[in-house]
Symmetry: C2
Subunit: 194 residues, 2 copies
Amino acid sequence: MARTQGSHAQTTGPKIRDMALRLFAQQGYAATSMRQIAAAVGVQAGALYLYTPDKQALLFELMRDHLNDLLSTWTPPGGGPMAELEDFARHHIRYHLDRPDLVFIAYMELRNLTPENFAVIEALRRDYENRLEAILRAGRAAGIFAMADTKLATMAVISLLTGVTTWFRDGGRLSRSDVETIYWEMVRKAVSVP
Amino acid sequence: MARTQGSHAQTTGPKIRDMALRLFAQQGYAATSMRQIAAAVGVQAGALYLYTPDKQALLFELMRDHLNDLLSTWTPPGGGPMAELEDFARHHIRYHLDRPDLVFIAYMELRNLTPENFAVIEALRRDYENRLEAILRAGRAAGIFAMADTKLATMAVISLLTGVTTWFRDGGRLSRSDVETIYWEMVRKAVSVP
DNA sequence: GCTTGAATTGAACACGCGTTCAGATACCGT
DNA sequence: ACGGTATCTGAACGCGTGTTCAATTCAAGC
């Protein structure tokens, strides 16, 4: 098979995903051609099909692996809802700032997934939201948090945290950990008892 | 010229914008062809060029008019930073929930603008952000608001408010004004003195 | 009913797309 | 040095794209 040995395959395979990632993030899935990806890898378009069945699989696997990674790199640390929420918020920001391209694609290219692929991604996304919701629900039950609606608070907190990717650039006025701390403070205040 | 009289022109012209809006929002600018738009209007592709110079202008004018509208339908009402922030937040949510397609396009299709068009849209967007920032800055100076960084708070509040469009659907568990009030409460707490 | 000009068609243009595949090439174990 | 196979090329396929334009249809004024 194609994926096993040979010196080229060990670099070409991953390179395709890297370049697809970069190009999809920069110009979008629909606006990126297989020929462009191939050129970026340094190969002819036909060679891509030794590593991927089609263009759609490239997008889907990027998104699926991203979400699986997001889910597997964080588990509730314990220590009560407040500590867990802080950990969640800081991890979310750190993760998103470390992988801006992946995050961008995961939010922008949902429309370009086939219905079956979309369903898979959607389910992973909901898993992630449910983790935050569980924290908020526990915190409200414990009287630590106060919000009119837990589900809305979940969505609002995720929107707020994810928004950091739209403006943050390395080398700017604030460091990543500055941003992390400032955002966490806003999240905490938004859901805490007044 | 084409735009003046005749019974068809009075309906075909606006119809093109409506259908382009719907299709761009549903499937994206790049994935929508002029032939699809024409079919949705009930006309051949060539006829579109009596009303628009090209496809790009369709996208640009949609976004430009949307942002101009957003800017012109809200002016600071006075009454102090807290009252102004509430008015801003409620207006933002109301406006965004009333025009989900336009809002979606304005956030998703920025990449598909030519550089010149992008610059125009970007400037309008910044105008809008600056209005919120002015409120927050005044509130902090007055000791009503407390946030570590005004610019970050501006971006965070906009992310939080805009996020409502990703999940809200009419006929759901909560009405628009419910959502408006719940979101406003979170915004208020996030930026207020603890 | 004829003339006029706007509104629209439908075919054509050059081009880029995703994907396939027979043939060439490069590399490895022996 | 050779055989085998993993890797890649380059051309081709059918199709859809944005846009143009001569020719046609349509609606209204006289």
